[in-house]
């Protein structure tokens, strides 16, 4: 297969129109990935889109390359096995915050710990989109959802710090409003050998927005514009204040040996 230079080559145009609501951020994140793949000229058959279950999980239908649609929360664990069988394959997991933060949280931590060579793009819409807008682990305290009608009674989880501590080689966070930064981070993530993670704040006007007085996509984009702080500023906030803001920036960029490299080295050193 020839090397693709145009991001449109990675999109399965015959599968469109997509099922996402108007104003949903999934498409912007997907385009960011396609742009990064084109920039690096990765042949289509050398990349895999691995999705979880959720609105974001439909992304695999819209790509022209390999796709894997797993069971809810387990996609990263499946990717671990795929990586062992196909070490040269670029594996990109495109997961919801519920999928990779709640039901799949343990797999996320352990794949980061083992530093398996894969990229996780967490599409953080602060809610369970597919099932009708229930709160998720990243939903900020006090915000409303279809299962927190009186305000959410626990704190939103900081996924990036968690993954960084667990051992990932690359961790960054931004929003779909900040597209230049988004495209850059995705590009850096997929160029990283080892575990890379990008948290992408993304609008769900249909549920998160509707429940929290951000009824339209533009309103949600305004919200991201105001509430996303560069990492240095965000780090100065108290835990309570952080619930109202989103972090923008790179937490980790390092070059620890990934799982397979370490496995092979360990054996050769015997």
């Amino acid at each position: 297969m020839s090397i693709s230079q145009d991001y449109t080559d990675y999109i399965a145009w015959d599968r469109l129109p997509h099922m996402w609501c108007p104003g949903c951020g999934n498409g912007i994140a997907l385009k960011g990935l396609a742009l990064a793949l084109a920039k690096q000229g990765i042949p289509r058959h050398k990349v895999l889109m691995a999705t979880g279950i959720g609105c974001s999980g439909r992304a695999g239908s819209y790509v022209s390359f390999h796709s894997f649609d797993g069971t809810h929360g387990r996609t990263i664990a499946f990717c671990t096995g795929i990586n062992v069988a196909q070490p040269d394959l670029k594996i990109v997991a495109f997961l919801g915050d519920g999928d990779c933060g709640a039901i799949g949280g343990n797999h996320l931590l352990h794949a980061a710990r083992r530093n398996n060579d894969l990229t996780v793009l967490e599409i953080n819409n602060f809610t369970y989109g597919m099932t009708g807008g229930q709160f998720s682990p990243t939903t900020p305290a006090h915000s409303f959802s279809s299962t927190s009608k009186h305000g959410k009674v626990d704190y939103g989880m900081d996924m990036c710090y968690l993954v960084a501590e667990a051992g990932a080689n690359y961790v960054a966070s931004t929003t779909v409003y900040h597209t230049a930064q988004l495209n850059k981070f995705i590009n850096e993530a997929i160029s990283t050998r080892g575990f890379s993670f990008v948290e992408i704040a993304s609008p769900c006007p249909t549920y998160y927005g509707r429940h929290n007085n951000l009824r339209s996509a533009p309103e949600m984009m305004e919200w991201f514009k105001e509430r996303a702080l560069p990492k240095e500023k965000y780090d100065e906030l108290t835990i309570e204040e952080k619930q109202k803001y989103i972090m923008r920036g790179r937490l980790v960029q390092r070059d620890r040996e990934d799982f397979l490299t370490m496995y092979m080295n360990e054996l050769n050193n015997e």
Partner: protein, 376 residues
């Protein structure tokens, strides 16, 4: 060929490696841990990988992932881990990923007795997942059987593009016997069929004449799309009524219609016996001896030893039982195979010998039962 003096767990791991498995993912659990330990030691020597995952859900997922990457892969666990694996085994059935799951059965429900044997996961193997599907499950009754039927399990997984289970008990897992190990070159090994069209024309889920797709692998120029949602031949999702009906039917029939390719039951003792025992695994060893002693005492008795428990070999069993006046099902559970036998022959003929006290059967237990039904 070489002779080994090993336990069932090791024999099964050896079977997997000789069958070409190059990936093991698992999570420690009694009485299956020795299998993982052996793989961690031996896999690297054959260029394979051992991975200890964070739990059994992840283990099953990683095995399926490796299989979709083109490798032969397997896992081993016991009751609690088996329960955790169910959702992803259903996924493997749906995406038709060849893989092998070894269930070293321990005693009881929940945590049970971790180090004692059991035979009570038979129905779980068949019906543990949501939704209709067929599954293949094999039940060796010796250490040699652990080797042979694990090799067979890999062949069947590749042949049917399906998960295949091997169930043996803690007692065989830890029993040491002298066995013959064949090298890969000496074994008849089956590999999955490769795509036979160009990448442009390729549809990953287009079945061949036997209902089995020719799966490519991630990284191949033949683009692979897998999903646990109902999908068309292209691998793209669909909720069309006809697509749903055809897929569910094919997934069942691709196995059920070819049952005669699965390891058949073995028969011991008097031909067309009056009293026929049905058993499997560790229990059938004692049953074999009991039938032998009964025959010496002039009693007309035989034994059907299951090698394949799912799909249940109804036809073969019905034939063996056509002349039987009494059927004794010998199993260490509350009657899981007994219910299947009652579907095949009249309930009135069936008199089970069940045991759920952590102990295995002894030949004299079974001989007593044979004598009892013969009124001797």
């Amino acid at each position: 060929m070489s002779k080994f003096f090993v336990e069932g767990n090791v024999a099964s791991a050896l079977g997997a490696i000789k069958a070409g498995a190059r990936f093991f993912a698992g999570y420690p659990i009694s009485p299956a841990s020795e299998l993982a330990e052996y793989c961690s030691q031996e896999m690297p020597k054959v260029g394979g990988i051992y991975m200890q995952m964070e739990d059994e859900i992840a283990s099953m997922a990683a095995v399926i992932g490796a299989s979709l990457g083109g490798m032969k892969a397997f896992t081993a666990t016991s009751g609690p881990g088996m329960s955790l694996m169910q959702e992803n085994i259903g996924y493997a059935s749906m995406v038709e990923a060849p893989c092998v799951i070894i269930n070293v059965q321990r005693f009881g429900l929940s945590t049970g007795v971790a180090t004692s044997p059991g035979q009570s996961d038979i129905m779980q193997a068949r019906w543990g997942r949501h939704g209709d599907q067929s599954i293949i499950a094999l039940t060796p009754s010796s250490v040699q059987g652990c080797f042979d039927l694990t090799v067979e399990a890999f062949n069947l997984a590749e042949r049917f593009s399906s998960p295949v289970m091997v169930l043996f008990e803690a007692s065989i897992a830890h029993l040491r016997e002298r066995i013959n190990i064949l090298e890969s070159e000496e074994l008849h090994l089956i590999e999955r069929k490769k795509p036979d069209v160009s990448p442009e024309d390729y549809k990953p889920y287009k079945p061949d004449e036997r209902g089995v797709p020719r799966l490519s692998y991630y990284g191949s120029e033949h683009i692979l799309k897998t999903t646990g949602l109902v999908h068309t031949e292209t691998g793209n999702i669909s909720s069309d009524a006809r697509v749903c009906a055809a897929l569910v039917e094919r997934l069942e029939r691709k196995i059920e219609d070819y049952q005669d390719e699965l390891p058949p039951p073995k028969y011991y003792g008097t031909k067309d016996a009056e009293t026929v025992l049905v058993s499997f695994g560790i229990s059938s060893r004692a049953a074999r001896e009991a039938v032998y002693r009964a025959n010496l005492a002039g009693i007309s008795a035989g034994l059907i030893e299951l090698q394949t428990v799912w799909p249940f070999p109804e036809k073969a069993i019905a034939q063996y039982l056509s002349k039987a006046l009494r059927v004794i099902v010998v199993e260490m559970n509350r009657g899981q195979v007994t219910r299947e036998i009652e579907r095949v022959v009249s309930r009135n003929l069936v008199d089970p010998l069940l045991r759920t006290d952590t102990n295995i059967f002894y030949p004299h237990d079974i001989l007593d039962k044979i004598k009892e039904v013969h009124d001797i």
